[in-house]
């Protein structure tokens, strides 16, 4: 009897737990991510048209997108984009900027050093550790396997 009740209960819970809307989430991520990248492409084309070289273009576009991501996070707009787009807002470099500004704002009350400046890197820190660390290994390997 007890077992049966447990099973019934589990079935009930499974019925009531909201299913993530996989299809809709994927479509929204595709659209939002696509739009952000297309905006980046617009800046790329613009910087190319004013005569920047390849390296300057890619650095310039990163700087602009990081600026926009930070500003929209400060204004509270990026949160709304994130709610609609999910990973579509998180994966682009603007989402990286968002991951810096959001916790830094949140922890401002803890001061400008241990609050803002330290919490800025709560996600950006690991990103840099793994990114820079693995890039050095790739560079070293490229010397070993020259060709």
């Amino acid at each position: 009897m007890d077992k049966l009740n447990k099973k019934d209960y589990e079935n009930l819970v499974n019925k009531k737990v909201p299913k993530p809307t996989y299809g809709k989430n994927m479509i929204m991520a595709f659209i939002v991510g696509g739009i952000i990248c297309t905006i980046g492409q617009g800046f790329t084309n613009y910087l190319q048209s004013v005569g920047f070289n390849e390296e300057q273009v890619s650095t310039g576009v990163s700087i602009i997108m990081v600026f926009l991501g930070s500003l929209l996070t400060g204004l509270g707009i990026y949160d709304k984009i994130g709610k609609i787009g999910g990973a579509g807002a998180a994966v682009p470099i603007t989402g990286f900027a968002n991951s810096i500004v959001a916790p830094a704002m949140e922890y401002k009350s803890e001061g400008f050093i241990f609050g803002v400046a330290s919490k800025m890197f709560i996600i950006a820190g690991p990103v840099l550790v793994y990114g820079v660390g693995s890039s050095i290994i790739v560079g070293l390997l490229s010397i070993l396997f020259k060709g």
Binding site: G40, T44, V61, A87, I93, M105, V116, M120
Partner: protein
């Protein structure tokens, strides 16, 4: 046509992230770190380059493109300056983005306050 390619590649990379978010217990922070590292590794193996050639900003704006830039910089540095270059190349190639993230991230966090949740 260029914009369509960008949209599709950029969108597809984000959908991949969304699938991982919905089907696993990983958080957006995990996605950022793993996509970045994937970009570094794929860049090192020369597999990201065709995606970047085809997708333009669609491959470079996602965080995996940041990893690609890191690895390309490190490889270029290593080929030109040896071991020292392997250490300096990655950060050199991405210095602008990182510096911007630090400056703008700090400034915006000082200027604005978190919006109260509804």
């Amino acid at each position: 046509m260029e914009y369509i390619k960008t949209f599709i590649i950029g969108g597809a990379i984000c959908v991949l992230g969304q699938i991982i978010l919905d089907r696993t217990k990983l958080t957006p922070a995990h996605i950022l770190v793993s996509f970045l590292t994937a970009g570094v590794i794929l860049g090192g193996l020369g597999l990201y380059e065709p995606i970047a050639k085809f997708g333009g900003a669609g491959a470079k704006i996602p965080i995996s493109g940041f990893g690609y830039s890191l690895s390309q910089g490190a490889i270029k540095g290593a080929q030109e300056k040896g071991i020292i270059g392997a250490f300096t190349g990655g950060l050199q190639a991405t210095a602008g983005g990182i510096a911007a993230a630090i400056l703008f991230g700090y400034t915006m966090a000082i200027i604005f306050n978190p919006k109260t949740k509804d």
